[in-house]
Symmetry: C2
Subunit: 339 residues, 2 copies
């Protein structure tokens, strides 16, 4: 994949090359805008109708904020701007509001995600990522902390939760949820990207093994309980969902995570369908957008064309398993022997 010419743009666009370590592994950039929401003067004020959440339906990091926003009823107080799942032709790292009339976000009036980042900090050199909470008063990025944003929604934004909103982050479970979220982040959410963006076979295989070891562990955990922490959906389930729901349609093929499809796991397969069928999950899942992004418009490293990864899967263990086909036959022999 050649880098496209930056038609219509004079800005230099940062490629992901600076997110690749010397061993060929992917190191996701850290977030630049991480001021927390809260009541202190140095925190972002929690106010109805002050912020606009920008996302694309393709992105798992953005998707989880949109799920939690909906489950908690914050869609009444935080508006939503939706960028196209297809990267703009001019860059490989930006997002574009081409789904909107006139090709601009109707509230912010911007065509590209990078514009709001540049307005906020003209020195900003990172990728213009989603999710991002934009302060409509300041017309600037307030927070793009994809890791903590759902937690802010669950805690600091409580005053604006709808009536009888569920508790996705119960106080007595916070520590355990945080610990599991960390594991889910490194081995699963970001784990699939480590597989897909690896620039060496060794680094890819290491990420592949960690990913499936963790999925096997969660498969076992979900054999005796409906959700990750028992009977009720928590923040951790949202985070796991956003990767699992993309797995079979995108990562399995595009990121070489092909030991097994999620639907081949009896428990994980049923679990992700259970969540999909829950309001807030399936109704915010756009398979077309996900497929378009990962298969047609994924950001590719400049020099990826020289790297060939051999997929470690699929699982071949079933080839010698019993098939019971002999019960369909009248003959004990499989071959016709002429005499």
């Amino acid at each position: 994949m050649k880098q496209n010419n930056q038609v219509g743009s004079t800005k230099s666009v940062p490629m992901k090359a600076n997110e690749i370590s010397s061993d060929g592994s992917f190191k996701r950039q850290t977030n630049r805008f991480i001021t927390p929401f809260g009541n202190n003067s140095n925190e972002l004020p929690v106010e109805a109708n002050r912020y606009r959440l920008l996302w694309t339906a393709a992105c798992p990091w953005a998707h989880r904020t949109v799920i939690v926003r909906k489950i908690l009823g914050l869609d009444n107080v935080i508006s939503l701007g939706t960028a196209s799942p297809l990267r703009p032709k001019t860059t490989q790292v930006d997002w574009e509001f081409s789904l909107d009339e006139g090709g601009v976000d109707p509230i912010l009036g911007i065509q590209y995600m990078s514009e709001i980042y540049q307005k906020t900090d003209s020195e900003y050199k990172g990728r213009p990522t989603v999710p991002v909470m934009v302060d409509l008063k300041a017309q600037q990025v307030a927070n793009n902390d994809y890791f903590r944003l759902t937690n802010y929604f669950e805690t600091e934004w409580k005053p604006f939760h709808k009536e009888n909103a569920p508790n996705l982050y119960p106080k007595d479970l916070c520590g355990e949820i945080d610990a599991l979220n960390d594991v889910i982040f490194h081995d699963i959410n970001n784990g699939v990207y480590k597989c897909g963006f690896a620039l060496s076979q060794e680094v890819y295989e290491e990420a592949f093994d960690r990913l499936f070891a963790r999925l096997d562990e969660l498969e076992e955990r979900l054999s005796t309980q409906r959700f990750l922490f028992g009977d009720y959906i928590t923040d951790s389930d949202v985070r796991l969902y956003s990767t699992l729901v993309r797995f079979d349609v995108a990562y399995y093929t595009a990121f070489h995570t092909n030991r097994n499809l999620i639907k081949e796991f009896p428990n994980l397969g049923g679990y992700v369908r259970d969540l999909y069928q829950t309001p807030g999950f399936g109704d915010t899942t756009d398979f077309d957008a996900i497929k378009q992004h990962y298969h047609v418009s994924i950001t590719i490293f400049v020099d990826k064309e020289d790297v060939k990864i051999l997929p470690k899967g699929p699982d071949l263990s079933g080839w010698n398993a019993p098939h019971h086909r002999e019960t369909l036959s009248n003959s004990k022999e499989k071959f016709l022997i002429d005499n």
Copy 2:
């Protein structure tokens, strides 16, 4: 994928570009060496130890000849030369004997498949394909007719079949076998290539739909009988096997044939495992070679880098199916509601 420089070769190497129609569809080249085996003076004489069959374990067209050769015991009278599944770095269409000591076929003394084609016809412009039967006496290509070669083995080569060799092509079924082979060829054997090599979304989707419509039909056919023609394995089963056994490890991902894995089909899945567990099938199937070829070293069209195909699969019909996960829960609610 850029075309590699033809290091170490001064010959012009024909690319597949001439096998692409104006609508972006793949039209496989016709065979050049199609003189039949037989007893007439204008036919190729059937003689023990006169021919060497050249193949690579990656290639489905070659694989089927190797399966039939083994089932019929012709491995005693036709020797086998094995090229690497990886295309040589110097060209994208040749095959190389790099698995052999010294990098040359021990009998023919050639490094590249193209050498025997050039020795036979210095004007030969097609791809140097496998399978190919080489006449060791003339040191020339005798026959590269991948479509009919198994039939010659089954009929003309009968004098050299092992004792109690099975009949894969019974006279009373020849007409039906030929008719089904034709369907299997166009929609399945070559159908996966039509998907993988399509240069337009429309052409890809048409091939995808035909492929899975045919697989659905065969899934139904195999629900009441063990093999395609009942209780016994025939030539048609060999042809279907060579594509099915490559499907989940190669085509599903590399050729975008991802509506379903073959192991998701109850009957086709059991059927292909039944064949795999039959001498001649599984013991000639080299999954490593297949994976290496299709994922790392497949011949790519010169201009394929400009074409993005959106995979039509996977099948999303299961997302709203019952999951029965609620039986694991003590609560009727999925969410914890604080009061």
